[in-house]
């Protein structure tokens, strides 16, 4: 029986790309079946230029390609947390 609730997890990430996969997995491992995870990422150009490894521009683990209907990504440049959450 399908669960009657649809849940969306909106996760802003700011230069913390190393934790994103843990975050995605924590949602994937939930029992409930009808969730979405919408990952909103904020980029700062200077970080991209100086420390690319700290700014994830592609979701780790290929989740976005494997289950595109459930894992979505939106990149906002220097937008601030309220803006990216509202985008979600």
């Amino acid at each position: 029986m399908e669960h009657p609730y649809k849940i969306t997890i909106i996760t802003p990430s700011y230069n913390q790309g190393q934790y994103i996969e843990d975050t995605i997995l924590s949602v994937l491992n939930q029992v409930i079946m009808t969730w979405n995870i919408l990952l909103l990422m904020e980029e700062v150009r200077i970080i991209l230029l100086t420390s690319l490894r700290n700014t994830a521009t592609e979701l780790p683990g290929g989740y976005q390609k494997k289950i595109p209907a459930k894992v979505m990504q939106s990149i906002k440049v220097s937008a601030g947390q309220p803006v990216i959450l509202s985008t979600g």
């Binding site: 029992v31 409930i32 309220p82």
Partner: protein
């Protein structure tokens, strides 16, 4: 937190009139792990419209809150969640549960860890000023002005149907500032 979403869906099913469910949170970092504690349910309705009294990552809300009360206030860099949750407290039933519903990683770059309390206070004073103006609490607005905390709001929240104890609200908001721990 494993099972959290199922638990949340269950609570919403039990409380069809509730727009928000909030629980406890596990904080973890490099050196320690600890859990938030829920505050007493007594006066919760007053606290919901005075300050943020629950850990934000363990808050789950229905889309109805955004549809009816609007999206986040993007002018608030630090307390946009407080602003949204206060709108929930003004208009809807909120359910507090004992479940640990989220984990929160503490690290030096986290806004909650690295930012000055003063910046949160500035946002919170703007929000609380707007609440008082919305419910027409003239006495408390005057006291906020005397404390140097009042900011004339550019807009108001939707006026709630419910009545609130504005004197108690002011005490909850201002006491930690006047009598810091």
């Amino acid at each position: 937190m494993p099972g959290a979403l199922t638990a949340v869906a269950g609570y919403f099913h039990q409380h069809p009139d509730a727009v928000m469910v909030h629980g406890r949170i596990e904080y973890f970092g490099e050196t320690s792990t600890y859990y938030s504690q829920n505050i007493s349910k007594k006066e919760l309705a007053t606290r919901y419209v005075s300050h943020i009294c629950m850990p934000q990552p363990a808050c789950f809300y229905r889309k109805k809150l955004l549809d009816e009360q609007g999206l986040l206030d993007e002018s608030l860099h630090f307390s946009m969640d407080t602003d949204l949750f206060i709108r929930a407290g003004l208009h809807y039933h909120i359910v507090q549960v004992e479940d640990v519903l989220a984990r929160f990683r503490l690290h030096a770059a986290s806004k909650s860890v690295s930012s000055f309390n003063k910046k949160f206070l500035q946002d919170n004073a703007v929000i609380f000023s707007k609440v008082l103006a919305t419910i027409g609490a003239a006495k408390e607005i005057e006291k906020m002005k005397q404390l140097g905390l009042y900011t004339e709001p550019g807009s108001l929240y939707n006026r709630p149907v419910r009545q609130f104890n504005s004197a108690a609200m002011l005490f909850i908001f201002a006491a930690p500032l006047i009598y810091p721990a």
